[in-house]
Subunit: 209 residues, 4 copies
DNA sequence: CCTTAATCGAGACGGTACGTCATGTCTTCAG
DNA sequence: CTGAAGACATGACGTACCGTCTCGATTAAGG
């Protein structure tokens, strides 16, 4: 993230001289950007100039907080992201289902919410924006998944010889492909359970003839 | 498609007066755009102006053929797609490995990888582009995969109770997720075999008899 | 003058490719700037942005011709400057009177014309603008004066031992001081003749007692 | 003068509560502005922001004392003016030479020269500034010159039929033109004498008897 | 001694203009 | 009629100042 922004990093708070930054302005900026996206403005047309006008704010007030369009969008996205799911902890299968269900919900939401729709659409056009999204949103979820799998392996609920990174992709990949890369596919209820159970069981027939 | 472009539509060839359009210019434009993408230029910075400069061509020469960045991009994709892989037909596992290996190769090659990334990037914001990619690239591969799985199910190499669409995502998803959504992950040799074998076998520990 | 501008310099005319610059746009810019000055807008508030709006022209169209505010103003000023006076050539005194009369007229005009008033006012705030004005307006007049004095010296109408540069300042200085540096002083008809005759005759009493 | 400033107006001193204004800050501001002018910064680039930075002072501290750049500048001028020259009183020629020498010195000194230039620059656009300079600097010198000339006329050192105002301009004009309007010209030693002697003697050739 | 109040440096605030760049359209000359 | 070249109006970019404001910290004089 840019040095102009300390959103998310717990800075040790320097002596704080001069007039403090207005929280109202900050909210106005994020809300304004959000509103424009919800009104269907494509991300490509979301200029800093326009956000400033909408928020009733000077451009410098934006640049003081974010070093560019991309850095701002990271925070807009973060504000729109759902919380990390809470794991039940009642076993590998249950935890995996909850994780995948969270992904599925986001996929469902991004079809109804113009905001998520728009944001996810253009995100990969910018390496910087994509990298920030990776670090701030994707990576934590990924760590959560790996942690669940590690516990499952220790408990004997998962084969000991399998690579955890690969295993994570095996569960998450099918859902992401449907949710993010194939927007025309539906995401029916029960899909999470189906994926988890099928991957755990494997696709080979049970009784070899 | 725009009326300015007759790529793909078999126009009945109007009388054709005056100087004919230069095929050299057309190739220069497509190659120039491709080169920029390969060089890592983010799609957002790929201006018509820049493509024209790179190709040594007037801007009007581009607008005469395509009505905008999107339409041009559809043709760039068409020109850069690799052939469908040939299946060995020696069994479910081998066919799946060949299919995934084809995906992996594409992710490894910088040319296809850049395309893949950028197509995914623009996908949702450009229905036209997405539809073209869908029809020309995704759909044939998908049909191929489903066909392989259907044969495997008939042969008893695949569980009979599994949904083929789901099964396809189970194999393809992990590879695509690595190739497209996590570009920092490597795609080592042997990954295709590993995915296929693990998905077929499942992740549950072998029950100790 | 800026390389972006060839106003006044007789360029050898390169092959001239691409669309030629619009004379209409050029006139609109100069007229727009002139109009704003005449309407009493101070030079300091005469932004390029505002001129472009007034002239109905893009900013780039201005920057294509002039490299900045100052270069543009040089041409605006030139357009408002009176022509070089025509010398009668009937003798030193007559020529000098005509030269000074031209200065006087300009001084009178700059009190009635808001344009000249404004332009001359702020000109010296900018070294570049002032230098350009020196080179394009002042210097030619100065050369004219020196030429007149040189001829007078050859004809025996002027003392042979006097430095021509100094002599020029002796005639021009008093008028410029009144016209430009002391705006509250009046510039009555007959002043030119009075200055020329007095400087020629000297201030010492005729018959020393 | 602005109500924000009480420089020069003998205010009846209100009860004066709170922290008194810092004289150190005031000096720092005036010195900073002076320093920037001496360093050749064009008046147009002399922003309040920059003066505050140079002086190590908050912007508000400046605006508390002066209502704008103009008002500040009036005080800068007052602080930088040299003393009136002392006249020898040994005759018209000597007094005139001393007066002109004082002007020449001012043009040579970078400090006064920078001021002179910039005052002239802003003169017409700022009636307030001009009036202040007029009253504080020009008028006394002018009165001095006229007084010298009046005495010379009474003594018979100057033609009786010449207008004193005109005579004053005849001596002062050439020097001011060189110092203010043609800064590239040098002001060599001996120039004052040369001007005085030449104007007194006139430029007409001595009539060959 | 302890308020009270105006000052200080610092810097954020909503604005306006800067000079550059890309947009898609147009207008020229050359083939 | 097409080629390239490039001018056109438009509008966003990120920076610099504008003049105002709001902070915590000084610095007197008056209670």
């Amino acid at each position: 993230m840019s040095p102009a922004s300390n959103h998310g990093t717990a800075a040790p708070a320097p002596p704080a001289r001069g007039r403090p930054r207005s929280e109202a302005a900050e909210r106005a900026i994020l809300d304004g950007a959000m509103k424009l996206l919800e009104d269907g403005v494509p991300l490509a047309e979301l200029s800093i100039e326009r956000i400033a006008r909408t928020a009733g704010v000077g451009k410098a007030t934006i640049y003081r907080r974010w070093s560019g369009k991309e850095e701002l969008f990271v925070d807009v996205i973060r504000a729109a992201e759902p919380e990390d799911p809470e794991l039940p902890g009642t076993g590998l299968r249950d935890d995996l289902v909850v994780l995948l269900e969270s992904l599925r919900q986001r996929g469902v939401a991004s079809r109804s919410s113009a905001l998520l729709h728009n944001v996810h659409a253009q995100m990969k056009s910018s390496p910087k924006l994509w990298a920030a999204y990776q670090a701030n949103v994707i990576a934590p979820r990924r760590r959560l998944g790996l942690e669940v799998l590690r516990r499952g392996q220790l408990n004997g609920e998962l084969r000991a010889d399998v690579d955890l990174e690969l295993a994570n992709d095996l569960f998450v990949g099918p859902m992401l492909v449907r949710a993010v890369m194939r927007p025309e596919s539906d995401l029916p209820e029960g899909l999470s359970e189906e994926i988890v159970d099928t991957v755990l069981a494997g696709l080979r027939p049970v009784s070899p003839p």
